[in-house]
């Protein structure tokens, strides 16, 4: 097991991190700090620079400019120190297709310096906890997409890293496997206090898992906050009221500040779910009772649309089509 280091204040710290590919500014000056134990989601459409950022932080590619320290070590000058401390689960399959899962786990353990005995024991432990017992001794090419993904996770965890990077962990998985994977990641974090940085273009994933969402677009960070605060600050809640007649709607618009379209009235206000019952009472007392009510909470897509003028779903749609069965 890798020793925990408590001396770093920041698990990740970057200054002006930049990567150019020929003329393309894939990552354009990112300043980021992540404290130990945080679970951070980098959210953005395809090509926003999320994966490139991750590839620099994991020493796979050198930055064009700027600096980054990961687990206290420089990603350019102290690559080996960084590599020893991080786990990385990339977009592809880490396990070789002609290999068997258990063999790959043991090789992976050996690569991180575990003894043969420890690597075997750790592999058995992860096979058990990720539910791979039945398939671990089969060729990787015969495994389903969901099983391969779990094997990838197991490989990323073989050395119990203090910091785990996941690059679009659930792309290509069906909803059930996606939920399953998210559960594993959260359980891992609860048990080992692992710092986790993941990229995703699934809004629900960022929303339900991360306490901190960093929205990336055109290689820059355009927002960085908790999902709840991002939604409250950028978009806010809405209440949609329907009336049985247009005159009621007009009357209601006189009582409440809102935007009326026909027999509907749209209100933009914070904390809408708690205030909705009171609003209904007020309207009834004023003689304009509502016939219908809908409380609309913003999604991260609304936040994204607000921040960039584009919908994130358009970018994610292509990947959603390739569902993999268990």
């Amino acid at each position: 097991m890798a020793a925990k280091i408590n001396s770093v204040d920041h698990m990740i710290e970057t200054r002006g991190l930049t990567k150019h590919f020929k003329d393309v500014r894939a990552v354009d000056g990112i300043d980021l700090s992540v404290r130990p134990g945080e679970l951070v989601a980098l959210l953005g459409p395809n090509g926003a620079g999320k994966s490139t950022t991750l590839r620099m932080l994991t020493t796979l590619i050198p930055p064009t400019a700027g600096t980054a320290t990961v687990a206290g070590f420089d990603v350019v000058r102290q690559q080996r120190e960084v590599r020893l401390r991080i786990g990385y689960i990339g977009q592809g399959n880490g396990a070789g297709h002609s290999q068997r899962g258990r063999d790959e786990l043991i090789s992976q353990g050996r690569a991180y310096g575990l003894s043969v005995h420890d690597a075997r024991a750790r592999a058995a432990e992860l096979i058990e906890s990720l539910g791979l017992a039945e398939v671990a001794d089969r060729r990787v090419s015969s495994l389903s997409g969901g099983q391969r993904r779990r094997l990838d996770i197991a490989m990323g965890l073989i050395h119990s890293p203090e910091l785990l990077f996941l690059d679009e962990p659930s792309t290509g998985l069906d909803p059930q496997n996606r939920a399953n994977l998210q559960e594993h990641i959260l359980a891992l974090r609860a048990r080992h206090e692992t710092t986790i940085v993941l990229t995703t273009h699934y809004l629900d994933e960022a929303d339900s898992m991360a306490e901190r969402v960093i929205v990336v677009d055109h290689g820059r960070i355009i927002a960085d906050d908790s999902p709840a605060r991002l939604k409250a600050l950028e978009v806010g809640d809405h209440i949609l009221l329907g009336f049985s007649s247009e005159s009621d709607a007009v009357g209601a618009a006189g009582v409440l500040q809102g935007e009326r379209v026909g027999r509907q009235l749209r209100l933009n206000l914070p904390d809408a779910p708690r205030r909705a019952p009171g609003i209904l009472d007020d309207l009834r007392a004023a003689g304009y009772p509502a016939a219908e009510i809908e409380v609309i909470r913003p999604t991260l897509d609304d936040v994204f649309l607000r921040l960039t003028g584009r919908s994130l779903r358009e970018g994610g749609a292509a990947a959603d089509k390739e569902l993999v069965e268990v």
Partner: protein, 247 residues
Amino acid sequence: MTTLIADTSTVFSRELRPLLRDPFTIIFSMVQPLVFLALFTPLLPDEGGRQLQWFVPGIIVMSCLFACSMTGSNLLFEIQTGSHERMLVTPLRRPALLIGRALKEIVPMFAQAALIVVVCLPFGFRFDLLGAVIGLVVLGAFCIGLGALSYTLALASKNQEWLFWTVQQTLLFPLLLLAGVLLPIDDGPGWLRALAAGNPLSYVVDAERSLFNGDIWSSSTFGGVIAASVVAAIGLSAGVRAMRRSD
């Protein structure tokens, strides 16, 4: 240094394991050069069994050459699937990735070399054991270098597999023919001999022939050691640089 060896053995055993689990592919590839030898040797001028002394070391070099030039071909697939990327994120030393993969191609060929030698003994082939062992070490160093270059080529051919095969095939046969592996160069025209003199493999083949004959302290051995070391150094440094730059 010990950790470079440990890392190399991690990579090597990972690469070799699928073969060990499915050994039929090795057995088939081992029989291949024997067929080649059986069909080609009768064509050589009969010098009372001496043609085997000349030809057997050449065949061993040829199989190793073919094998190690393929080092990058498995890598092409692993680059696509993502397992190469996963290896790059581990703390494995970069030269170990190159050497381990090249050794996986070379070591089965050494087993094959032993088989070829044993099969040729009844036909009058004689060799010096110490010389042969030194010969395989020299050949191994050359093949590690060439394997590392094949690895580098695979990194450069990412997403365009045809490039790998075109370059590999284009270089392999001139390299082989200009080293006097199958036919002697000595009687060729001057330009051909000049090209052969610039081919590092020529020196390795000459060294193998004198080492198998027990002529250990010869100038050909010296030339072979130099040529193999230079190729190994060039291959490893090119490979390490390519890994650092690959995106």
